[in-house]
């Protein structure tokens, strides 16, 4: 039972066919093959086409409610620790573990960042991994190996409120950048 492309079709016996594409011959039937699927854990935010270059693949961002004991939770390292004013926390997850260099946050479609973990002329962005501040000074070469982390930044300049605004989160890694957006309604 199967394919024989060599023998003249008139000379083939029962159970033989001349050609088949995407078929299997089981239990005396010519049936479609089963599917060819992407490995389960390579989907969703873990999806990683290994050929992706120059970008942080599969980046996702979301809002995080700051814990009540927020300042203590993060620890020291001013100016990257919360300054006591209302702050925003944003969760970030990449498609794979990457080397993170710095993060910029842009407001309402502006072409320039409002917050940054690298530019000392801007309001700071704290980068937290498992609740620990990874950057204690402005740096464009943090070299943080991480897939998931949180960003924290003060909203003093916005009167403590992000409602009605949207953020563009730019994560810069050693292989390229990734971008995510968040609207605060």
């Amino acid at each position: 039972m199967g394919v024989d492309e060599r023998v003249d079709p008139e000379l083939l016996g029962p159970g033989k066919v001349s050609r088949a594409t995407n078929c299997r011959f089981r239990n005396g039937l010519a049936e479609p093959r089963k599917g060819i699927t992407i490995l389960p854990w390579m989907k969703a935010d873990g999806r990683t086409p290994f050929t992706d270059t120059g970008s942080l693949a599969g980046m996702a961002v979301w809002k995080v409610s700051p814990p009540a004991a927020y300042g203590n939770y993060i620890g020291g390292g001013a100016p990257f620790a919360p300054d006591g004013s209302p702050s925003a926390v944003v969760g970030v997850r990449l498609g794979e573990v990457q080397n993170i260099l710095w993060v910029d946050v842009l407001l309402d479609g502006s072409a320039v960042a409002a917050w940054s973990s690298a530019n000392s002329a801007l309001y700071p962005v704290g980068i937290l991994v498992n609740g620990v501040l990874a950057n204690t000074t402005y740096t464009g070469a943090l070299n943080l190996q991480a897939q998931s982390f949180e960003l924290v930044f003060s909203l003093s300049s916005l009167g403590g409120v992000l409602t009605g605004h949207y953020l563009e989160i730019q994560v810069h890694g050693s292989i390229g950048g990734g971008t995510g957006y968040l609207t605060y309604a």
Binding site: M1, V3, N22, R33, K34, I36, T51, T53
Partner: protein, 694 residues
């Protein structure tokens, strides 16, 4: 460059990992674990590579021009191999392990084909026992060359003390690989199995029980281990019945061929025909400039494209080259320029070529039936770079690393999965609660879209005021408003359950706002839920099948008139066609096209099935099809088997003349299994001649 190599790796804890090299980088991933990059510590990876696991470490072979690297820990990454001392009786090698494009681990030592002199790779270095960093020359450096001009392609451990040495044009067996007291193979003997053919590519062999199957230019050939543990070659290629497919192999790309073995099937990845995929989207659209005659088209720098000139084209400028004949090119920048007839629409075609010079199909041999099952050939899916047999949910499964950098599981589920770019991004906007009155509630396209206000007291739309007196009315009025003239430039609005879909007419979705706030991500906002679909997505597609039967001559060599065909089918939501082929040149006839089955119609006198399964009767007999569309409002009732297949006998008229007749059954949607065939014919012309007149 794309994918450069892949392997399985078991760490010291017994955890299995999949290692993939791509675009000059190396990654590891494993079941339920996120991928991570493994540092090359400044080393470069510019071409195809291979890996060899040695105990709990991994060697990376980068070709005969680069030194191998070793990985001891993931965190440490790949580093240069440094010599370590061997234990007593394990060997006394002094030579550093040589450069190579691959090696095999056997009897606790590494076997490395390498070039000793000149450019001929005909030596094999055998590392010290338990120490891959050194080997002893000349005692453990074997040369396999008795005047031949071919290189070693790969080595294959076979049995306890034998190893097959595959060269380009010959196959040898090294037997009696039993180390003496110094760790040397002083009693090993080499014998030629065949000088008529060799191995086409590294990794194009696989052991199956006491057999070793490999791909040569003659086909899939094998070595057998006899009861006396002697090796003998099998002369008749296993692939002989697949002659037509074998004739399609692009032998210039034979080094791409790979073999996998799983579940009693042999999988042979092959570069067929042009060995490339040409995307069907024509990128050449627009008119030629009335003055210059140029048409600029945007492409991706470094990507491959296929173009063809129509009657109106003269040249294609790609960076520094001017092309005057249709063909392939690699974009030198982000723009190419067609030159053609002034002010006329282009008649050229330009198509993206995502994969080229790669495997395009997989031939499958079933050991249980002892026959080939044909080929698996699906664009964007069957482009295998390497086969791996990985452990997935406790079972050994066939995994393919494909050219697009994805890991694919063979023989899983009913459909294929692809990663596709959302050509026209869209947003689904559903009304979750009653929108309150207000002047600024919705605007699709912040620049020029109609600013929709809300009148929560009104049941109907008035001008740009959206009537939302109830949530249900708000849902229907939203679509009717846009259908009635509200503007949403840059996209088209269609009706959805509970709301609308706004689909961009380009590759970019214009900004939009709810309650005056620009929405940039999916989620709940005020009275709406927003689902933004952009970028790439995983899409599923049916497995398209085609089977051509043997030719039915009805034990009569005279001419016939074939009048009716009967097919016994087992189907699930199919769309199939049937073609008749009689002996002769291009003598085909279409028997049926686009045949489908309704999942609501019974073949007996019975009211149509309600497709929401409202009556909880999905499994009632005698329906044409049992596929279901799950979604809002579908009643699961006492249980639904959504994959039930229906059997049927399809009888169709046909008119075809000939001595014998074959049938091709091709299916593009759902599933369609062929269970049996019958043909009816009456006697035709018995005149002698080159062809029947009927």
């Amino acid at each position: 460059m794309s994918v450069q190599g892949a392997t399985l790796f078991s760490d010291p804890n017994g955890t299995e990992w999949i290692v993939v090299a791509a675009e000059g980088r190396v990654f590891v991933t494993g079941e339920g674990r996120v991928a991570r990059e493994i540092s090359l510590n400044g080393a470069t990876l510019t071409g195809d590579c291979t890996f060899t696991q040695t105990y709990d470490q991994l060697l990376l072979w980068r070709g005969t021009g680069s030194a191998p690297l070793q990985m001891i820990t993931f965190d440490g990454g790949f580093v240069a191999v440094t010599q370590t001392s061997s234990g007593a009786g394990a060997g006394t090698g002094t030579q550093v392990i040589p450069n190579s494009d691959g090696a095999r681990f056997f009897q606790n030592r590494v076997f490395v084909p390498f070039i000793y002199v000149g450019a001929k790779k005909d030596f094999v270095a055998v590392g010290d026992i338990g120490n891959y960093t050194r080997y002893k020359f000349p005692q453990n450096a074997f040369r396999f060359n008795d005047g031949a001009d071919d290189d070693i392609v790969d080595l294959a451990p076979f049995g306890r003390t034998s190893m097959a040495v595959f060269k380009q044009k010959s196959v040898r067996i090294v037997d009696n690989l039993v180390p003496d007291s110094n760790g040397d193979y002083s009693s090993a003997v080499s014998d030629v199995v065949t000088n008529t053919h060799g191995l086409v590519a590294r990794g194009a062999w696989v052991g199956v029980g006491r057999d070793l199957f490999y791909v040569s230019t003659r086909g899939v050939t094998s070595l057998q281990l006899t009861e006396e543990n002697r090796v003998k070659g099998v002369d008749l290629p296993l692939s002989t019945p697949l002659a037509a497919t074998w004739s399609r192999i692009n032998w210039n790309l034979r080094d791409k061929i790979r073999i996998g073995y799983w579940d009693n099937n042999l999988y042979v990845a092959l570069p067929l025909d042009d060995a490339r995929v040409v995307d069907t989207t024509n990128l050449a659209t627009g008119n030629y400039d009335p003055a210059s005659g140029n048409l600029n088209l945007t492409v991706t720098s470094g990507a491959a494209y296929y173009f063809s000139f129509g009657p109106d084209e003269l040249t294609l400028v790609n960076g520094t080259e001017t092309l005057t004949r249709s063909g392939f090119f690699t974009a030198q920048s982000t723009t190419v320029v067609f030159n053609g007839t002034l002010n006329q629409p282009t008649t050229a075609t330009l198509n993206y070529v995502p994969f080229y010079n790669c495997n395009t199909a997989v031939a499958v041999y079933d050991f249980q039936t002892g026959a080939w099952a044909g080929v698996d050939e699906t664009p964007y899916v069957t482009h295998v770079k390497e086969f791996l047999t990985a452990t997935i949910q406790g079972k050994q499964r066939l995994v393919a690393v494909t050219e697009d950098g994805l890991l694919r599981l063979w023989e899983e589920g009913f459909e294929d999965e692809r990663l596709t770019t959302v050509a026209n991004p869209y947003v689904d906007l559903t009304v979750e609660s009653q929108p309150p009155s207000g002047a600024v509630r919705l605007q699709l396209n912040l620049a020029t879209g109609t600013l929709i206000g809300v009148n929560a007291a009104s049941a109907v739309n008035v001008g740009t005021a959206w009537g939302t007196s109830t949530t249900a009315l708000a849902r229907t009025n939203l679509y009717s408003g846009y259908a009635g003239g509200w503007l949403a430039p840059g996209g088209t609005v269609s009706q959805q359950d509970w709301g609308i879909r706004w689909t961009s007419t380009t590759s970019t979705l214009q900004p939009f706002a709810i309650n005056g706030v620009t929405i940039m991500n999916s989620g709940a906002f005020y009275w709406a839920y927003v689902d933004l679909v952009t970028g790439t997505q995983i899409t599923t597609q049916s497995v398209s099948t085609s089977v051509t039967t043997r030719a039915y001559a009805m034990q009569d060599m005279d001419g016939k008139r074939f009048q009716q065909v009967g097919l016994r089918l087992v189907t699930w939501d199919p769309t199939f066609s049937i073609t008749g082929l009689t002996d002769g040149v291009n003598e085909t006839s279409t028997v049926a096209t686009g045949q489908t089955r309704s999942n609501t119609v019974y073949s007996i006198d019975q009211a149509a099935w309600v497709s929401s399964n409202a009556n909880d009767d999905h499994g009632d007999p005698w329906r044409e099809d049992y596929s279901v569309t799950l979604g809002a409002g579908f009643n699961l009732g006492s249980g639904v088997q959504p994959e039930l297949e229906q059997q049927s006998l399809v009888r169709l008229k046909m008119q075809q003349r000939g001595n014998s007749c074959q049938l091709t059954l091709a299916n593009t949607d759902g599933r369609c299994t062929l269970k049996g065939v019958e043909l009816e014919a009456i006697a035709g012309d018995r005149t002698m001649g080159t062809k029947y007149s009927g």
